[in-house]
Amino acid sequence: MATDTQTEDQSLRERRLRYRNSLYEFLSRRRVMAAFTILPALLLFVFITLGPIVWAVAAGFYEIPVFVPTWEFVWFDNYVELLTEETFWMTVWRSVVFAGGSTAFQLVVGTGIALLVNRQFRFSNVVQAVVILPYMIPTAVLGFMALWIGNAQWGVLNGVLIELGLLDNPFSWFGNHSTAMLSVILTSSWKFTIFVTIMVLARLQSIPQDHYEAARVAGASSYQVFRDITLPNLKNVIFIVILLRGVWMFNKFDIVYVLTGGGPGDATRTAPIYAYELGFGLTRLGKAAAMSTLLFVFLVAVALVYFRVLEPAEGVRTE
């Protein structure tokens, strides 16, 4: 009796093992492996990224009533309407100003911070960790934080400036036509500068230490070391950062929307804000889709430069 169950157990186990082995054999076939590794990511990518892009281009040719299921094909009407109105060009221009200003600021300050905290000193690990924190602050939180600190009546910024004698009366930084854009640029830079810092820091830390030692032994000054070793190593990452930050700031919606909603007046009404207004304020979804398509063209242009100049290698350099 006992031996019976034992042999039964054993045969069961053998069978299970055989099944598992044949399953592994099956999964190891090249086609099967491709199917379960690459295919899921590819399918999702097509559904959630390529799909919406194609949809945006197509929807730009329609008038889309919000609560009616029928779309009306209107040829290029949405595009013509956009390209011939002044509002469109003004919002694009503001996006250029916003993107240019904040990218330049973020690049210079971000690289500076990376070079600074990459040096060896006591607690340098702690400082590096602290410096990364702003990048983890959600835009919505950043918005309220800046509005509170810059608040015209109760903000600590005005308090300090008055205390220091730099300002006579409290000033509404986000509510004033002449300072709103600058305030939005500086606020968003508080967070996104850190993106530059992280990228540059990551690159700096991968420069082999013996390059520096060799330069020192050869008698190079600190400036020469920076010029001949640090800078060439950073060239690529700086270029990537300019392109990525340029694209992202040009199309930045959330922080501008949260801080000023495009105001006061239309001082900070950038292109993405206008696209959002078109789609969800004026319920012109077709025109909003056309607007997205036009912004998308800018993205493609930058991406082409990126691929042409950098030729990002899909083979990794193992140095």
Binding site: F121, P138, L244, Y276
Partner: protein, 296 residues
């Protein structure tokens, strides 16, 4: 090489260059300059966060006053208590956790599998695919969210947490896929090959050798996709009109109604929103930098 310019510290400090500063003084000055610069950076980074915390601890009577003491005189947890027991905040928190868990798992699983496949299997159009993936990484949320709103409405995925997870994965998947792809190329093929000569099938080599080695990359991807989904504002703002489905970032705006802004509660909520991210960054900073290093 013949004559390395090395002077012992003591000797250097004893040498006073005529009229100018001594080496020791220059060194001290340099160190003071470095310290000052670091202090400045830390102040700019930390002050807003600390001020947020400071405000969150002040009772309502201490919020709107003329000059606020730098060290709070009265500390009160009243805003935290109100948030947790009298607002929809716990619901928003739960929504955010569900969405982040979804985005992180989906991204980590798909990018690990996909990254492995791309690194180890050769097929046509690989180069084109690489560019497509990187191109996806450049995509800002607002450009995706408008057409997504139209599609998601058609297939009934608006006001649906699963629909939100899918939408936000669009922001985290491309870079994560790229990162894991690069990462698997740094894992030597020979390790898997030796497992296979020891009798393992290709799948077993993948499961038992490659996956465990990819752990640092997976942590970097998890951290990145967590940050993306936890912080995202535009996509939920566009896709979710149903208040009970809002994540924290959108829900935060329920604390300001027209002219009434509950600053104390907003700051308390903000602290509670950023806290988990801060803990992750401080604990996992190494992987974050590692990830970006491999990725680009």
């Amino acid at each position: 090489m013949s004559n390395p310019p090395e002077t012992p510290d003591d000797a250097a400090s004893a040498v006073a260059t005529d009229g100018a500063l001594s080496y020791r003084q220059i060194r001290l000055l340099k160190r003071a300059g470095l310290g000052l610069a670091i202090a400045l950076v830390l102040a700019v980074v930390l002050f807003p966060i600390l001020w947020m915390f400071h405000t969150s601890l002040r009772p309502q009577s201490q919020i709107f006053i003329e000059s606020v003491p730098l060290v709070p005189e009265v500390i009160s947890l009243v805003h935290y208590r109100t948030l947790l027991f009298e607002t929809e905040f716990p619901q928003f928190y739960a929504n955010s956790i569900v969405v982040s868990l979804g985005v992180v798992s989906l991204t980590v699983v798909l990018s690990t599998l996909g990254g492995y496949g791309l690194a180890r299997l050769d097929f046509r159009f690989k180069r084109k695919f690489a560019r497509l993936v990187l191109f996806g990484y450049m995509f800002p949320a607002i450009l995706l969210s408008i057409p997504m709103f139209i599609i998601w409405t058609e297939i009934n995925l608006t006001n649906n947490l699963f629909g939100l997870v899918l939408a936000e994965t669009a922001l985290s998947l491309p870079f994560s896929l790229w990162l894991m792809w690069q990462f698997f190329q740094t894992v030597p093929r020979s390790l898997e090959e030796s497992a296979r000569t020891a009798g393992a099938t290709r799948f077993q080599a993948f499961k038992d050798v490659a996956i465990p080695l990819a752990k640092p990359g997976m942590i970097a991807v998890a951290l990145f996709s967590y940050a993306v989904s936890w912080n995202e504002y535009t996509i939920p703002k566009v896709l979710m009109s149903d208040r009970s489905k809002w994540p924290l970032t959108v829900g935060l705006f329920t604390l300001s109604e027209g002219q009434r802004v509950f600053w104390g509660q907003i700051m308390a909520a903000s602290i509670m929103i950023v806290l988990p991210a801060f803990v992750f960054v401080i604990v996992l900073r190494k992987y974050l930098l590692e990830g970006f290093r491999t990725g680009l």
